[in-house]
Amino acid sequence: MLEQLMYAIASLGGFALLAGLILAVSSKIFHIEGDPVSDKIDALLPQTQCGQCGFPGCRPYANAVASQAADVNHCVPGGERTMLAIADVMGVEPKSLDQEEAIPMVAFVREDECIGCTLCIKACPVDAIVGAPKQYHTVIADHCTGCVLCLEPCPVDCIDMIAKPELLEHWSWPLPDTTRAQTGLERRESHQHD
């Protein structure tokens, strides 16, 4: 009787030890840095680093969403598409956006008014402003994400937000003008805003 009990305990204990070893080894081999869900969400975000979501950048917002500390609908520049994609990753219901999606803008420095204080350069989250102390600064339009973080620190208010110029190569066909295509589009839009 006791012998049988010993067998059972020994075999089960042995299995448990083996399983523990496998787990320990595989956790070393297949170790992943960081949080995969947060990485996935970060990849979906537009990386404007604008802080309009209330977090100091895209990565912190992604972390907050992944740990369910923030809702999926706070990314303003990402718009509808980003919100739906994040909701899909998190497996939650889509929510209506905080704000209406705006047209894409870029910052523009009026150079004859710039005093060369470098404050905007320090504020730019993506290093899209070039310049040096007491030299005119200018915005690299192709790198500007339109986050407006440079407007606030400028002491002489010489930065404007202008609409991003529409390029011929970036033009794409709109949906056909048929009633069917247009009603489908309207239905999709109203459905998403509910």
Partner: protein, 501 residues
């Protein structure tokens, strides 16, 4: 395998998958090419080909000669642009181009002086058989030649000898399967000798042994002319004229290769990967002019047709000529209630007004009355799953499902259904009994997918810049802290006291 067997026995009519037989309406096939007079103003957009735009080389006030380079190529996939006649550059600014968006592009405005003097710096290469192949290729590039069949892909890129993919067969594409268009047809009838010579130059350049001139059987006079020219000018190269049954879109490169050789060009590969090079008739004629005469590309043959044009016909037009001027030559001045098409009716784009210059890709100018146009494009109705579109598709896609995915912006699904293999030939839209604008949906889907990809690339670049900035700020902070620590370590608090004592 079975299909090949049937084809050998002559049972199978279809030389490639799918296809349609539209009403060809080749009403201009017997009208000879007329020379269009010089317009009062020529407008040259700085991009007339697929690839990167050129940058202007001339300034306002400069006097230019015909054939003088006025804009230089930027990057590899680009060819220069030449002045179409002699005259003065009067301004350089944005102007409408033949593009469905109606957007403008930087254009060089030239006012002709009427003398039409040629720039003689480019010398003819008469001894091309013994000229280095790379010199000929450079000549084709310098002369600004891009595919004149409508796509306007820089031609010199295709004219290359690659050891891994040797080109065995050169196919001259005289199919011209778009309805209405007859410019290649007339070129073959009127300039057959030059075209055969151009083809020999191409074969010499790529080292091909076999040449095929493919012509659809609705152009019997062109077949005869080309046969005569080939027999007359036998240079020891194996060139044959092949008559193919009329079928749309046989003029599409990959479909033509399948029809002639039975080989399919794999997805994402080029014709040279199956040892074939395709060239358009007009392009071949332009290569002849560039090499034998030393003329850069400054003019092309354009078909002016459509039920609203009083005198339909073919014209040799200087690039940069306003379409309104060309229509006026054919007796059309009032565009009220008309639809203007640039290119053929199947793949061409609709233009909003005729004040647009002719460019290298302008194969035809059509003007259709509103009644004629609406007949082809009534309101869209729901899909009835008849499957005609799948039968007509030359790539064997399922257009009805693809259109659903594009309409609902399910772009990943659309990509799974091979949206990007669609050649936008329009065969599916043509046969659809519900009049669904299928190709329009595909263009929408492709545009949206490109937009998403662009946004992703931009986001990735921004993320890298932001991360780099964060690490830089951290590094600066660390360096400052390290410096401070160092200062503290050397100046111990006891030191100042000792100094006082």
């Amino acid at each position: 395998m079975i299909k090949h067997f049937f084809k050998k026995l002559g049972f199978s009519q279809a030389p490639f998958a799918g296809g349609i037989q539209p009403n060809m309406r080749k009403e201009t096939e017997h009208s000879p090419i007329e020379v269009c007079p010089l317009p009062p103003l020529l407008i040259m957009p700085i991009k007339q080909h697929i690839g990167q735009a050129c940058s202007p080389l001339v300034a306002v006030g400069d006097h230019v000669l015909r054939g003088q380079k006025i804009a230089k190529a930027e990057g590899y996939v680009s060819v220069p642009i030449h002045a179409p006649t002699s005259g003065q550059v009067i301004k350089i600014e944005d102007y409408a181009i033949p593009h469905p968006s109606g957007m403008g592009l930087t254009s060089i405005f030239i006012e002709p002086d009427g003398l039409d003097e040629r720039d003689e710096t480019l010398k003819p290469i008469e001894d091309w058989q013994h000229t280095d192949v790379s010199a000929l290729r450079e000549r084709v590039r310098m002369c600004g030649i891009a595919g004149l069949g409508g796509a306007a892909f820089p031609t010199f890129i295709k004219l290359v000898q690659d050891q891994r993919n040797p080109i065995e067969t050169v196919i001259l594409n005289g199919i011209e399967c778009e309805p209405f268009l007859t410019n290649d047809h007339r070129l073959m009838v009127e300039h057959s000798q030059e075209i055969v010579l151009g083809m020999q130059i191409i074969m010499h350049m790529v080292g091909a042994k076999q040449g095929i001139i493919a012509i659809e059987d609705n152009k019997s006079d062109a077949i005869e002319c080309m046969k005569k020219a080939v027999n007359h000018d036998d240079m020891g190269l194996d060139i044959q004229v092949l008559s193919l049954p009329t079928r749309y879109p046989q003029g599409s490169e990959k479909q033509l290769i399948e029809a002639i050789t039975g080989k399919q060009v794999p997805m994402g590969k080029l014709p040279m990967h199956v040892g074939v090079l395709c060239q358009n008739i007009g392009t071949t004629h332009a290569i002849y002019e560039a090499v034998i005469l030393g003329y850069p590309l400054t003019e092309r043959v354009v078909t002016i047709s459509g039920d609203a044009v009083p005198q339909q016909g073919n014209m040799l037009v200087r690039l940069g000529t306003s379409m309104r001027f060309i229509y006026a030559q054919r007796g059309l001045t009032d565009f009220d209630g008309l639809q203007i098409l640039h290119g053929g009716p199947m793949m061409g784009e609709r233009l909003r007004h005729p004040d647009i210059p002719v460019i290298k890709s302008s194969t035809g100018l059509l003007a259709l009355s509103q009644d004629f146009f609406r007949e082809a494009h009534p309101e869209e109705e729901p899909c009835i799953r008849c499957g005609h579109c799948s039968e007509a598709c030359p790539i064997r896609l399922t257009p009805n499902l693809l259109a659903d995915h594009c309409r609902n912006e399910q772009l990943e699904k659309a990509a799974d259904y091979h949206l990007f293999d669609c050649i936008e030939c329009g065969a599916c839209s043509y046969v659809c009994p519900s009049h669904i604008p299928l190709v329009h949906y595909f263009r929408f889907g492709k545009g949206q997918a490109a937009q998403v990809r662009r946004e992703q690339n931009f986001a990735e670049a921004s993320r890298q810049r932001s991360e780099f900035r964060d690490t830089r700020i951290q590094r600066e902070k660390d360096e400052k802290a390290a410096k401070r620590r160092k200062v503290r370590a050397t100046h111990t608090p006891t030191e100042p006291n000792q100094g006082k004592e």
